[in-house]
Structure formats: structure tokens, C-alpha cells
Symmetry: C2
């Protein structure tokens, strides 16, 4: 039994939270006194009105959210937020097609960072700020935020939390989900502030520094410049952003432990070690390649390599160079593989997640041992304890489903007239919430040239990826609607 | 404890079996009295001598083959067979590079069918026949054959059998593995004869008919013509080959049951139904596409579609048209996906195998149900019984490993200078034992233009695929050599 009025009620709450953030962009617009003030104000008004109506008309029912309702709320929530979030771009006329505006907004909220804009600098400051804001609130999750600040839906919050943050090893920072959500958001705000200061000191304007901190910490990748981070020819800025991307792709619980001095918990974490190992090894291999094959000076080779590696594995999607131009192509095919790895569990990064890749590798190795010792009990160990078979099965099934969705998506997208390499790249980058792909949707290009149906399809894949497949796909199963 | 002399002894046996088949090609050459007679005779002589020496020098030890020894024998066996099998091509000078000759032979034995020949018609009949023969004996498995005819290694034969035929659901046709092997080979010979007669009646020369029956039943795909089956503009021949490819990609046990009147066992088989469903649905979708988008007449659209679909899913690799020229590209991306499906378990087809894909899909669906009913016991069912968790885990791990090998292989191959699409296609088609890939190794092209290192690498992937990963890869694990 799904209670639709309860769902509408929570959607109303989410819209009110969204309208609050939208109104901050009104202030930005007012400061610069540009022509996006009216459209932003109108959009905010529509959003408040809609949220308020949903809130008030459905307010007289019990608030305990059930499992199925949580899946529906979270999935619909993200669609509705994108629907209203697209209004400023559309009403202002800066993105004349509503399909494009929706794509850009969904790409923002899901922290994908794929853009249809051909001239980002032409947008007024208020709209640019709203664009970055969608990523910032999407990164930590607007529902997590709502749980933190709205006591109204705190009952059953765990269901919503785990539907929006389906990662397999979210450490509870506090027995109460509301306190955990609060701590996560405080940390998030803190890192964003720290990066803003450093980028400002590095030579960015305050506006650019805030925007890029927003989209770094969200592993989103939207920039205020068409050239992305390449627009700043400053090693300091490149390295600062690299470090904060690494932090954003790390489990926020570990950052919390590090800041509160619980280093033991940090150092014994297998996922963190593996995450850093992948970054370092691919970074060094590609750096060596850029140095030896392409003749780049060592520091530049290392910086270009590590920036692109971190940008892709954390699923941020910034670029300081066009990796598709690297030769031999093996250098960028490594980048392509990193798209499937993604950030750590409990981070704002997308993809399959480091922990899953790590478990997949360990499980494969265990299968070899099983062949030699068919009757021995050989558990897969992680963080020094044996993983339950049920969890391993879930990880394997997730990975297989992930690949099947990419395969099916590539076929469907090919029918919109896109070539295979671009289709594959577009689906992989959308599902991984990364941003740039390969082929005609590479880092030196964007998604403007796709057909309308391709854009809607990719918007769907972004949502699928952000909510880790199951939350969205389960709604389309017979089992979900039975009984 | 691995007994190397036992391994050498079995390798000797395998070489003797190989030399027997090689000598048949001598007769073919003699009939046509062409210049490959000497080289074929010399190669056969070298092979007999080597086999006989290994056989005689290591003959005084016990014959029970242990698990680890079986893995080594099978892996080394296939390498050694290819090493000697390449001699006729190399000594005759028709393939002047030994790397190329080895590639061609490994591609034959593994029934891949990828070729480096730019002018197949220029080869004399004896060499062409040997080329087809490598596929025919590779299809059913030379070790399976040896078990059937050589009582010498019948003890421990089950270990060898399951290392060479690692499929997950090989029905035992007889309690004794030797009898099962015999029945399978008889069936194989029977189908080959039947197809030869039909192709001959359809207008092929007897020589062409035999060669193509060899390579159809093996799902190998080597043709006597550069244009492959497109050289025969006969719907009858196309349909006959389509039907026999379908049979070759079906579990041979099911064919045995059908021929012996046990239809119940055939009809209740889930894998068969799913296999036919995939063929029919992709065949019809592509046929509709070729008709609507490319304007082909309905019969031709259906024939082109079903032939290519069946050729790829069974991993045969014949072509009657260049699927890469189909537009929109979604039409051939479906073909690309079928490369990963492969034939049925217990067939001569490669790939992931239909049963694995089917189990993967069912397991994913069960994961959804588990999300809704986290405490219910929800087994995955197949052929009307619940699958053990251990088997599901093995299937999942196999699929993941398969994809990881393709990913790693694509990166490594890219470093030989090949573009990404071709690298991906070459690795996928080699690992799946298919033949044609995508990009520059598509059905209208071949593998001649690759670098020497790329050819050796792909030969390795062919072997990996033919022996289903574990048999080969396990030798490279620490666990294998411990104790």
C-alpha cells in the first residue's frame, strides 16, 4: 500500500528546500544587477507556491515512511527537483529548449556535469550560481539535507536516507540518522569554505572560487568557464582542486574521523588505501606516458595526468587538457577505465565505487582458490573481517546490472544516430555521473549536438547512476507493485 | 606436487593425435598434387617424432592425473598443438612470419576464426584443409577426443575433461566420461556429414562443402574464400549454414536427446528457450531495421540479419555482409552485444554462454525482490530447481573476470598503436572466439595489419576464452603453486 498523499507531502517539503537555495541565486543576481533577476524570482515563486500547496494539502496524515514509499519519494523527488530547477534557465531564455534546460539541471543535481552550453561565459552570474548550487546540494543529497533540517520527516528517515545514499558501507556517525546527516553536512560546508579561501588566494575571483568549491566538493564538475579549469593557467589552482577532488571522493566518515583525531579508523580502511593506490599508479603510468611519448616536461606531465585521473575517478569531470588527444590511445583508455571505478563509498563521487571494485577483485581471486580447494571454506575478507555471501552477491549483481545498463543504453542511444564510441561514452559518463565521455562527447566537446530524445535518455541514466540503479529500477519491476 | 613427466607424456599423446589429422591433409594435397605436399609431410614428420619421443621417454609412470596437472596439461597442450600446427603454414612459406602462422593456428584450434590472410584463395588445398581441420578438432576439443580414443589416459580423464570443457552444466550422457566423450564425437561427426551433403547439394564443391561443415560445426568460421560465405550467392546455402550454426551453438546433449527421442528433456531446457528467444528477437529487430532504414527487400533483410546474428551469437564468425556498414549504428551494436552472449553450454560456441547470461539476469531480478523482502529466502531458479549460491557466485565472478580481462586487454592493445574501438573489438572477439570484431578488425577486414606483439597478445586471449579463463589464469596465481 503506497500512500500517495504522503509522497506528495514530502515532495512539497523538498520543493520548499529547493526554493530556499534558489532564492540565494536571486541575491547573487541582485548584487550583479543582471537580467536574470526576474526569471530567477519568478522560478522561485513558482517553486515556493507548488511546494507550499503540496505541503498544506497533504499535511494531515501520519509521517512514517515505508520502504516502497521511500523509493518512490526519492526517485520522484529528484525528477521534480530537476523539473523546477530547470525553470530559471528556461524562463530567462538562456537555454531556450526546455529539454536542454532539464538535461542541464538533472546533470547538475546528479553531479554529472555534462553540459549542453556552448558559451558558458555568456550566462549572467545568478544563473551560473544556481547551476553550481544544483551540484552542491545534489552532491551531499537534498534528501539527506532535508532529514537534517526538517524534523517533520525524521520518522522513517532511515528509509529515505538509504534510498538516496545506497552505498554499501555508510558508517553511522551517530546512532540517530538526523545527527549523522547533520555532521555530514557540516563537514561538507567546512571543506567548501576551506577550498573557497584557497582558490581565492590562488587568484580566482571570489565568485569563481565559490562556484568551483561548490562543484568540486560535489564532484560535479560544472565550471564558470567554457574551458573548464584550463582557463586558469596556475599550477597552484590545479593542485588545490586536485587535493579537494580527492577529499570529495573519499568517504566523508573517514574525513570526520581524521579531523576528530581517530586516525586508527582511517589507516585501517581498505577502501581508502585501494583508492589512493589506483590514483597514484594510474597517475604515474599516464605521467610517464605523457613525458616519454608526448614530450611534456615532467611537472606538467604529472600535473596533467594526476588532475585528469583524479577528476575522472572521483567523477568530477573538470578538465585541464583534452585526454582524447593523448597518444598512444592506451593512455586515455586508462582514463576510460577509471570512469567505471568512481569514488569511495560515502563520498559524493559516482561510478561503481572503489569498494565494489575492490570486493570484485578479491572475490575473483577467491574463486581461483576455490577451484584448487573445492571443499575448503574460503571467505572474502575486507577491513579484516569476512564479508557475508549475501553482500558479495549484491556487489556482483550491482556490477553486472551496471554493465548491462551501459550495454543496453549504448544500443538505444546508437539509434538516435550517434556513433558507437560516443554512445558508449555518453552512457558510461552519464551513469557514472562524471561529465565528459569519449568520442564526440569528449572533454573538448559537450552534449549540445545530441537529439532531444538522446538528452532525455541520458537524463534518465544520470538519475539511475546517482541513485545507484536499484532505487529507480525497482519501481519498474512487477515485484514492487505486487500485493 | 606437479609431475612434469606425466605432463610431457600426455602432451606426447596429443601430438600423436594431431599428427594423425595432419596426415589427412597430406592426402588432400596429394589428390590435388600441389606444392604444399612436402611442407605438410615434413611438419607431420616433426610432429610424430616429437610426440613419439615425449611418449616413449615418459611412459613408465603412473597415469592418474591430478587437478593441478590437468590445468597445466590442458593449457600447455593447446599451446603445443598450436606450435606444431603452425608448421605447415610456416614451412610452406605461405605464411612467411611464424608469429602470423601461430596466430592463424591458435585462431583455428580455439575456433576463433580471426585470420591474417589477405588472399585465402591463393593457398593450396592441403593447407586450406589443414586450416579447417584445426577448427574441427578444436571445436569438440582434442583432449576430449583423446579421452575417447586413448585408454592410456582414461584414469583421471574427468579432471582433463572438466579443465577443457569447463561449462557449468555439462550433462553426462554416460556415467563413464570416456563413453560421454565418444557419444559427443559421434554426434559431431554425424552433423558434419549431414551438413556436407546439404552444402554439396546446394552447389558447393565437395572440397568447399567439407571445409565449411568442419568450420560450421566447430563454430569456427574459417572459410576457403576471402569473401567468406558471401562468395556463394545462394539463399539455400545461407539458410543451411544458419541452421547448422544454430545446432553447433546448442548443447550437444540436447541434440543427443532429440535424436534419441527424449523430447521432454529438450523442451524443458531453459537455456535452449532463451538461446532461441535471443536469436529470434535480435534477428527480427535487425531485419526490420535493414528493411525500414536501409531499404533491403524483406527476405534479404531477414536472411542477412539472421545469418549475421546466428554467426555472431554462436561465435562462428562467418559473414555474408559487412554489419559495420549498417545504419543507424544501433543495428550493429546489437551484433556487438551478441558477441558477449556466445553459444550454449556444452556446445562448441564460445563467449560468456547463454546459460550464464540467463542466470545473471535472473539473479539481478532476484536482487530487486530481496530489496523489497529483505528477510525472505529467495532462491534463483533454473530448469525448475533452485541454484546453489556457490554456483551463482561462480557465474557472477566469471562474468566480472571476463569483463575485466576485456578492459585490461583493450588498454594493453591500445599501447600497440591500435585505436580504441579496434582494440576493444579485437579483444572481445578473441576472448569470445568469434572472429570478426569492430573498427579496423571488422568483418570486411582481417588481423594482418596488427603488430607482432598484438598478435601474440590476441593469441593468448583466444586461449583464455576457449578454456574459459580459469583453466589458464589459475596457473598464474600464487595459490596454484603453493604447498
Amino acid at each position: 500500500m503506497v500512500r500517495y498523499r504522503l509522497i506528495l507531502f514530502v515532495l512539497g517539503v523538498l520543493l520548499l528546500v529547493e526554493s530556499f537555495f534558489m532564492s540565494v541565486s536571486i541575491i547573487v543576481s541582485a548584487v550583479y544587477s543582471e537580467n536574470d533577476l526576474g526569471p530567477l524570482a519568478l522560478s522561485t515563486g513558482i517553486t515556493i507556491m507548488s511546494g507550499f500547496l503540496l505541503f498544506i494539502l497533504n499535511n494531515r496524515i501520519e509521517k512514517k515512511v515505508e520502504k516502497r514509499e521511500a523509493y518512490l519519494i526519492v526517485t520522484l523527488g529528484w525528477v521534480v527537483l530537476s523539473f523546477f530547477g530547470a525553470l530559471p534557465f528556461y524562463i530567462s531564455g538562456y537555454i531556450p529548449s526546455y529539454s536542454d534546460a532539464f538535461f542541464e539541471t538533472m546533470s547538475g543535481f546528479t553531479t554529472t556535469g555534462a553540459s549542453i552550453l556552448n558559451d558558458i561565459e555568456s550566462l549572467p552570474h545568478g544563473l551560473l550560481f544556481w547551476r553550481s548550487t544544483t551540484q552542491w546540494i545534489g552532491g551531499m543529497g537534498i534528501i539527506v539535507l532535508s532529514i537534517a533540517i526538517f524534523p517533520l520527516i525524521k520518522i522513517g528517515g532511515i528509509q529515505l536516507f538509504s534510498a538516496e545514499v545506497p552505498g554499501i558501507s555508510t558508517d553511522k556517525l551517530h546512532p540517530r540518522i538526523k545527527e549523522t546527516a547533520k555532521k555530514l553536512w557540516m563537514l561538507y560546508v567546512g571543506f567548501t569554505l576551506a577550498e573557497t579561501i584557497l582558490l581565492y588566494l590562488g587568484g580566482m575571483t571570489l565568485f569563481d572560487a565559490i562556484n568551483h568549491s561548490f562543484t568540486t566538493m560535489a564532484t560535479g564538475g560544472y565550471s564558470t568557464r567554457q574551458a573548464s579549469i584550463a582557463a586558469w593557467d596556475s599550477p597552484f589552482i590545479h593542485y588545490v582542486i586536485t587535493v579537494f577532488m580527492i577529499i570529495a571522493g573519499t568517504n566523508f566518515s573517514l574525513s570526520y574521523f581524521a579531523i576528530t583525531g581517530q586516525f586508527k579508523k582511517v589507516f585501517k580502511n581498505s577502501e581508502l588505501k585501494f583508492y589512493l593506490l589506483i590514483i597514484l599508479s594510474s597517475g604515474l603510468i599516464i605521467a610517464a606516458g605523457l613525458w616519454l611519448y608526448m614530450g611534456l616536461p615532467p611537472e606538467k606531465a604529472f600535473r596533467d595526468s594526476i588532475f585528469q585521473v583524479v577528476s575522472i575517478i572521483t567523477t568530477t569531470g573538470y578538465a585541464t587538457t583534452n585526454y582524447l588527444a593523448w597518444t598512444p590511445s592506451g593512455l586515455w583508455v586508462i582514463i576510460l577505465l577509471l570512469m567505471f571505478v568512481g569514488g569511495s563509498s560515502g563520498s559524493t563521487g559516482g561510478g561503481l565505487k572503489v569498494v565494489r571494485i575492490h570486493i570484485l577483485l578479491r572475490n575473483s581471486y577467491t574463486e581461483f582458490k576455490r577451484l584448487i580447494h573445492p571443499h575448503a571454506v574460503l571467505p572474502v575478507r575486507y577491513n579484516k573481517s569476512a564479508l557475508p555471501q549475501q553482500l558479495i552477491n549484491n556487489v556482483l549483481a550491482f556490477a553486472i546490472l551496471y554493465i548491462m545498463v551501459i550495454a543496453a543504453g549504448s544500443v538505444i542511444l546508437s539509434f538516435t544516430g550517434l556513433d558507437f564510441e560516443s554512445s558508449f561514452g555518453a552512457v558510461a559518463t552519464s551513469l557514472g555521473n562524471i561529465g565528459p565521455g569519449i568520442g564526440s562527447v569528449g572533454p573538448a566537446s559537450n552534449f549540445a549536438h545530441l537529439t532531444v530524445s538522446a538528452k532525455w535518455l541520458l537524463s534518465f541514466f544520470m538519475l539511475l547512476g546517482r541513485l545507484e540503479l536499484f532505487t529507480v529500477l525497482i519501481i519498474f519491476t512487477k515485484a514492487f507493485w505486487r500485493k
